[in-house]
């Protein structure tokens, strides 16, 4: 009797998915080849049982079709248990055929047909002859070498895409968001910051962050640089992705590839299919304040060292008319206020927004490479969240969808709380019983064929795949 029998949830002998397809080699295309998706979830407190339950629910919806891939997202609760993520990933490994592609990561919250959850596991399963699958992993190097990480993943996926004759090529990827380096917010560092001159603080900041990204798997996620490299290789493809994030503690956000758990890697899944689809990157759900700031950038253009020629943090607080104690050193505290007042600028006609994040002395340390010397303060808006969602859902509600996936921003559940169910009701109405999953992460990634990939915050990326009928 194996462990699964003991759990009493799922018996291996009950599973008969038939022939295993390693889809990279399956390139025969038929016009009406069916593709099937399923979405399952679990709130079991045990990570293994949660993985089993969510996978089982998702796979059952494939109606006997063998799964070719699963995407697994879980909240940070499981990451804080001893080997919690390893045990969770063991579950699909135990009950699915070998060579089912698996990617995923930690997420702040999710919405699926069963409800809205800030604790739990969600699984997407997909299969059928109408879809070809491949997957790739960068080896966990994105923080120290994002260009190489992007190159490794995109060339591997591109090679597999070339073998598929199907029309649409979609890369789904999961990357890390910034992790607060404990060395930067420690009591010792904070004491040093209070006595050191500003120039020395800037040097200390740069040294800590450089050390963090090179050796410690902390610091910025560096999604922009990785995505630009991916764009070069996968020019004729779609890209949709999310930056992993936890419950705003900013400690436990991991990525999954097969049975591996990594703190700083790109896990990517390539999908090729002929079905029609709708792919949108909604602009940030913010309102512009008109309050602009001239900035002097620091360390790798990821930081703001001066605002309007003055120490950055004091001037930023003055503009917002906020007291000094709003400049908290921990990201967890920042999410209570500052997160809802992002900074933004226009690049190639697109509005880019990002949180005015981690404060270290008088420096503002952000999550993206800032490519301007003038930024504007934005206001996040509940109204814009619903307006933007309504617009997308109107475009799919008269179509028969086989699957819908939205990568949304982590501030949305933070904003809406129990009103997240209003979003769910809208999605339920538009998708009419077909599977969907909304993931709330710390950054949204997207690219359409011929375009440069975009990493944004406070935005949303939408993908709906339609039935062939």
């Amino acid at each position: 009797m194996n462990a699964l029998d003991d759990s009493g949830i799922y018996l291996r002998k009950e599973i008969d998915f038939g022939i295993i397809h390693n889809c990279v080699t399956e390139t025969k295309s038929t016009e009406e080849a069916p593709i099937r998706f399923g979405v399952g979830m679990s709130q079991d407190w045990d990570p293994y049982r949660a993985g089993i339950e969510a996978t089982r629910k998702a796979v059952i919806q494939l109606g006997g079709t063998s799964p070719k891939f699963i995407i697994i997202f879980c909240t940070a609760y499981y990451a804080r248990m001893k080997n919690g993520l390893g045990r969770m990933l063991k579950a699909p490994e135990d009950i699915l055929p070998q060579n089912v592609h698996l990617i995923g990561g930690v997420t702040t919250a999710f919405i699926c047909p069963e409800g809205c959850f800030s604790r739990g596991v969600a699984v997407i399963a997909g299969g059928g002859p109408g879809i070809d699958i491949c997957s790739a992993f960068d080896g966990g190097i994105i923080r120290r070498n994002p260009k190489k990480a992007g190159h490794i993943v995109s060339t591997a996926i591109e090679r597999s895409f070339r073998q598929s004759k199907k029309k649409h090529k979609v890369l789904i990827e999961v990357m890390p968001s910034p992790r607060e380096p404990p060395q930067a917010s420690s009591e010792t560092t904070q004491s040093l910051i209070r006595i050191l001159p500003q120039k020395a603080v800037i040097l200390l900041r740069s040294a800590i962050f450089e050390l963090a990204i090179q050796f410690l798997q902390y610091g910025q996620g560096r999604e922009t640089e990785a995505l630009e490299e991916i764009s070069k290789t996968l020019d004729d493809c779609y890209v949709i992705g999310t930056s992993t994030f936890d419950d705003f503690r900013d400690i436990d956000h991991y990525q999954f590839y097969k049975n591996k758990v990594t703190e700083g890697g790109i896990a990517a899944l390539g999908l090729s299919f002929d079905n029609e689809m709708l792919f949108e990157h909604e602009p940030p759900k913010v309102r512009r304040s008109g309050k602009t700031m001239n900035i002097k950038r620091g360390w790798r253009n990821l930081c703001i060292d001066q605002v309007n020629g003055k120490p950055a943090v004091s001037e930023f607080l003055r503009i917002l008319d906020w007291p000094k104690d709003y400049a908290e050193p921990h990201i967890r505290q920042i999410f209570h206020r500052n997160y809802y007042y992002p900074l933004g600028y226009e690049e190639d006609g697109r509005l880019i927004t990002f949180p005015a994040g981690f404060f270290m002395g008088e420096t503002i340390n952000t999550n993206r490479e800032i490519r301007t010397e003038r930024v504007e303060i934005m206001y996040t808006s509940c109204d814009e969240i619903f307006k933007s969602l309504k617009g997308f859902l109107e475009r799919i509600q008269n179509r028969k969808t086989v699957f819908t996936m939205l990568f949304d921003a982590s501030e949305v559940p933070g904003f809406l709380g129990d009103k997240l169910y209003s979003m769910k009701n809208m999605i339920d109405d538009a998708t009419k019983g077909s599977p969907y999953l909304i993931i709330f992460g710390a950054g949204e990634h997207s690219k359409k064929p011929g375009e440069r990939a975009l990493f944004n915050n406070f935005s949303r990326v939408d993908l709906s795949i339609f039935d062939t009928d």
């Binding site: 709130q43 407190w45 609760y77 804080r80 702040t108 919250a109 409800g115 809205c116 959850f117 800030s118 604790r119 419950d247 705003f248 967890r332 505290q333 999410f335 209570h336 559940p413 933070g414 904003f415 809406l416 709380g417 129990d418 997240l420 169910y421």
Partner: protein, 129 residues
């Protein structure tokens, strides 16, 4: 047969109290009459200020009983390092109450509190004891 009270207690203990940021929770009306898990299940941090919290949150039930019929849905107050969140059971004088650290993300906790409120309402609405 498991009573409705036991089912609700299970929701409080299993779904909410196990969350790191829920320090205490209960389904109560004025004078804290209702379903309260044993205080040993509450996080140790709040025990020293529990009596003050209890008195303060009790005052809010006057507002709840007055305005619940008009659709009052939620109330919050902050007391020192803690937030107290009331999720009112629709049209009643009773609320699901949770005490959480002020630093916690209230939105994320609300999502799970709403799931608990829905479960509690389902238990109340089912026939039987």
């Amino acid at each position: 047969m498991i009573s409705k009270e036991e089912d609700i207690l299970k929701v409080l203990s299993e779904d909410l109290l196990r969350l790191e940021d829920i320090h205490a929770c209960m389904v109560v009306r004025k004078n804290l009459e209702g379903i309260v898990p044993i205080t040993e299940e509450f996080k140790a941090e709040i025990t020293e200020i529990w009596s003050m919290l209890k008195d303060t949150l009790n005052e809010f039930f006057d507002i709840i009983s007055h305005y619940s019929k008009y659709g009052l849905n939620k109330i919050y107050f902050e007391l020192g390092k803690y937030d107290v969140i009331f999720f009112i059971l629709p049209g009643s004088d009773t609320a699901l109450v949770a005490i959480v650290p002020a630093l916690a993300n209230r939105g994320l906790l609300e999502v799970e509190m709403e799931n608990a409120r829905r479960k509690i309402l389902r238990i109340i609405e089912t026939e039987g004891t």
